[in-house]
Structures are given as structure tokens and as C-alpha cells.
């Protein structure tokens, strides 16, 4: 049985700019350690460490590049306007930011009044450098399977594997218990696995 937190972390990437740590693939533990403990939010640092994650989450949920860009920009703008209201006692800066991003994404979903259709593939699944044929096939299958998930399931996947949030952070963002997050994630991964296996 899956245990909480046993999923592999996103692969480390080459870091060229310390400000872009998370955007370049540094895990969230390193970011949280570096995050300011005081009430004053280092917005620029948060932005650089989370920009790509927020975009990845929005794109994963909405499956629309233009909408994801709008949501990402709106989320950071709202966070910038509200930065003085951030309270460290209520959670990490990333959880706070993703709470704002989630609201912006759901507003976008609500505004459109429908599930977003994939207008632009969020990734060219077969063009990851150094990938073998089996890996490319799996990526294509996975991309299709993601499209078949419900929005709630897709959001979980986006928060966990695209944005790199911990289960605790996800729980805080979507307002459920951390153990519930693990259970739902496992169920969603099972569903993805079945979809991929069925396609093979």
C-alpha cells in the first residue's frame, strides 16, 4: 500500500540562478528552509522560486496554455497586492501562494463554465531529450490519461507532481486532511495506471 510521502521527488535540474531554485527543479524542502520566518514576505524570492510551479499547476489543471498564463499572472499579481497580509502562522508562503493560484484557476474555470479543453499540449510528451522509445510512449499515454481525469483528480496531480507541493501543503491549499490527500492521490495514480495499462 502506498504511504504518504513515498512518491519520488521531481528530478533535480541544473541550477543557474539561486532565485530560480524551484523553477529549475530544486525541491520544496530547500525552499522552505530558505523562506523568511518573519511576517515580511520576500515576494521576489517567492516569485522566482514558484513561477514555473504555479504555471505548471495552472496548465495541468486547465490544460490551456493561454488560460494558464493568465491565471499565473493573476495569481502573482493578487499575491503581490496581498503580500502584506501573509501570515507565517497560517502556513508556508508556497501554500499561501498556491491558495491564491487555485482561486484564480477556479475563477477561470467558473468563468469559462466548462472543462477546459486542451488547446495546446502542455508538453511535447515525446520530445524529452534522452528518452527511450518506451518512455516516450508512456509520456504520450500519460498525457492522454491526464485528459481523461476529472478536474479534481487532475488538480491533485498538478499540485503534487507539477507544482511539487507536499501532501501537507496540498491539504492546506484545497482544504482537506493530509491523509485524505494521500488516499486520493493514490486512487488517482491507480486510475492513471489503469488508463495507461489499458492503452498498452
Amino acid at each position: 500500500m502506498h504511504r504518504q510521502g513515498s512518491w519520488p521527488k521531481p528530478p533535480e535540474r541544473h541550477v543557474t540562478d539561486p532565485h530560480l531554485a524551484r523553477s529549475k527543479g530544486v525541491n520544496e524542502t530547500a525552499i522552505d528552509t530558505a523562506a523568511p520566518a518573519s511576517a515580511d514576505l520576500d515576494f521576489e524570492r517567492l516569485y522566482h522560486s514558484s513561477r514555473d510551479d504555479v504555471y505548471a499547476y495552472a496548465a495541468g489543471l486547465l490544460r490551456d496554455q493561454a488560460a494558464a498564463e493568465d491565471v499565473t499572472a493573476a495569481a502573482f499579481e493578487r499575491a503581490y497586492r496581498k503580500r502584506s497580509r501573509f501570515d507565517t502562522r497560517k502556513g508556508s508562503a508556497r501554500a499561501w501562494l498556491f491558495g491564491i493560484a487555485r482561486n484564480a484557476a477556479l475563477d477561470e474555470l467558473r468563468r469559462r463554465g466548462r472543462h477546459a479543453e486542451l488547446s495546446v499540449d502542455p508538453v511535447d510528451a515525446a520530445s524529452v531529450p534522452g528518452a527511450d522509445e518506451h518512455g516516450s510512449e508512456l509520456r504520450l499515454l500519460l498525457a492522454d490519461a491526464l485528459g481523461g481525469l476529472e478536474a479534481r483528480e487532475r488538480e491533485l496531480i498538478a499540485l503534487k507532481f507539477f507544482a511539487g507541493l507536499s501532501n501537507g501543503e496540498i491539504a492546506r491549499v484545497i482544504g482537506i486532511g493530509a491523509s485524505n490527500v494521500g488516499t486520493r492521490l493514490n486512487r488517482t495514480m491507480d486510475k492513471l495506471r489503469e488508463a495507461c495499462d489499458g492503452a498498452l
Binding site: H2, Y55, A73, F76, S84, R85, L106
Partner: protein, 385 residues
Amino acid sequence: MERSNNHNDLATTLAEVRPGPRDAFAEELNERVAAGFPPRSRFDNSPLAGFLAWARAIKPQRLLFAGGTAALATIAIATVVIASGNSTTSDPRPTGGLLSDLAPVEPGESSGSESIPQAAPHLPATSAAGKSSASAESASVEPQIGGPSNDRANSLSFKPESRHREIERSAQIGLLAEPADVAGDSTKIFAAVHDADGIVLHSTTSSGSNAGAIFALLIPSARLGDALATISSIDEVSFRHEATDDITAPTVSAREELEESRARIDTLLAQLAAAEIESEAEAVESELRGERRHAARLRARLANLDRRTTYSRVSVRIASDPSADSGGAWGFDDAIGDAGRILAVAAAVTLVGLAIAAPIALIAFLAWLAHRLWLRTRRERALDA
């Protein structure tokens, strides 16, 4: 466990297919962040949008602090304004509830629901020796109906319209004096009554720490205004009340009945003179005696009504004022008293403010709560759609 390991490759692949932003978008967003998200539309540049953005950015704690400070400042200003208003224009002693302090009655201003008619006496309400003036004064509305003239009512203080009406007047005055001044004030009351050719019906004077005096006076209505002004100037006026009562109807009625009675007497006298039989004369005489008694009663009634219009009943009460027994110097007791009054006014202002603000704040809070709940529900539904 095997299943979890099976998911590991999925997790790794998911991380690989993680969407990334376009370089152009990332650059544009970087620039906007570096510039602090400058306004993009004309509306964003408007003062309203600026204010809204500023208000949204404020921390709730700071907002509460600012609101609390503003509320305290409002209470302090209102307290100062009301307290200073009380000390200069009205009796500083609370005579009613807290709210009565909030609406001090100006001298010459009616505390009743009806305005003082033109016929009402315009009496100076200011007190002697620089003390504060009367706080409450009221008068009933005087009728403005025409009628026979009446010289008795042609006083300085009442309008000529009252000449043809039979108006009974009465007044009550309360004076506040230091205990040591009560006797002197009483003497001045007697002098004022004497000057006005009035009558002291009753007087009671007591001395000591609870010194005071009560007077029941009859003052000629024609000189009532002057007399009240003189009495009001003797010491600090704590209250003054004046009333009028139109007794024209009973007076006219008594007068007409008396005229009829006189005519009846004249008739009976004529019958008596013409009576030829003794028994007839006795019967007329008996009737005449009865009619004369009736006429006497009518004359007495008319005289009583006449006296009621000629003289006005005035009650004067002198109460000692322990707080004023400091020789004029502002001392510790005064400070305690002033502090108490200021606190009372502040409490009243706070109470009124809360009575106004609390329901509004509660409604606003509930509306905000409902909006949040509605928004959250709508957002969650967007995921289920």
C-alpha cells in the same frame, strides 16, 4: 508496496511531462514583477481602484487597529464637544438619562414637543454671578382666539392677544444655592414678591447642610414676567416651568349666569312690589332669598376666576448645592465630578455609537461571510462541472 513502486515510474514520468511557461511569457511576467505590477488599464489608475487595492492589501490587524483608533478618536471628540457644550449652555448636572446630556436644552428653548408661542414670556434664563443658566423651560401653547378685552392680562410678558381671553398662569422655578446662601436667597425672594405686589401664600426655609426653601407665591399676572426674571437672577436656575390655562369658558359662563340671576332678582323684586296678598309676598320673598344666595355663589365663583387670572401661582424651590460649596475654587471634588460627567458622556457616546455601528457591522460581517461561502461553493462546483 509493489503497486506503489509501479507508480514511481508514473510519478517520474509525470514530472517529466510537467508543463513549462513560454520564454516570452516568463520574460513579460518577470518585467511586471520587477515593475511592481503597474496598472494596465485606465480604471486601474483611478483613485477608486487605488483605494480598493490599498484596502485589500492592509493586514486585518492593522485594519482593526486603525478602526479602533478612529473609533476612540471619534468618541473623544464627541465627548469633548458635548461636555463643553454642557458646561457653557446648560445645567451641568445630569437631570435625565445619559441621552439628555447629549441634547442640552438651550436657554429660551422649549423642551416640550410644542414650540413656545409668541405669547409666552421671554424670560432671561441666565443666572447671577456668572453661574450657568437654566436647563429646562417649557410652556403650554397659548390660545390665539379673539374675544373681549381684558386689561389684567395686558402685561409686559404676555402678548396682547391674551387680553380678550381669561388666562390663568402658573410657574415653577428651581434654584440651586450653596447651603450658606439659602437664607439670603429666601430674603431676596420675599423682596421680589414685595416689589411685584405679590403675596407669599406659604414659605418654608430650612438651614444646615441640606438647607433649602419652598415658596408658594401669588404674583400679579401683569408683573409675572418681571417677577420671574428677578427670581431667576437670584441664584443658579436648575429648572423653570411655566404653564397657561385658558379659563375663558367658565368665566363667561359664570358671568352670564350672574347676569341672569340679577335679572331674575329684579323680576322677583318687581313681583314683590306688586304682591297684594301676604302669602304671595312671602312666596316671592322666599324665592328672592334663594336667588340672592345663588347670585352670591356666582359672584364668589366669578371672583375666584377673576383672582386666578389676576394673580399667577408661582412655586419656588431653593435647593442647596453641596458641590458648589467650595468657595468658587475648582478643587478635587469638582475634578471627581467633572471626571464622572465626562465618563458618563463618553459612555453615552460609545453606547450610541455601538447601537448604530454594531448592527451595521454585524450585517456587513454576515454578508461578507455569506459571500465567501458562496464564492467557495461556486469555485468548488467549477471543479465538479
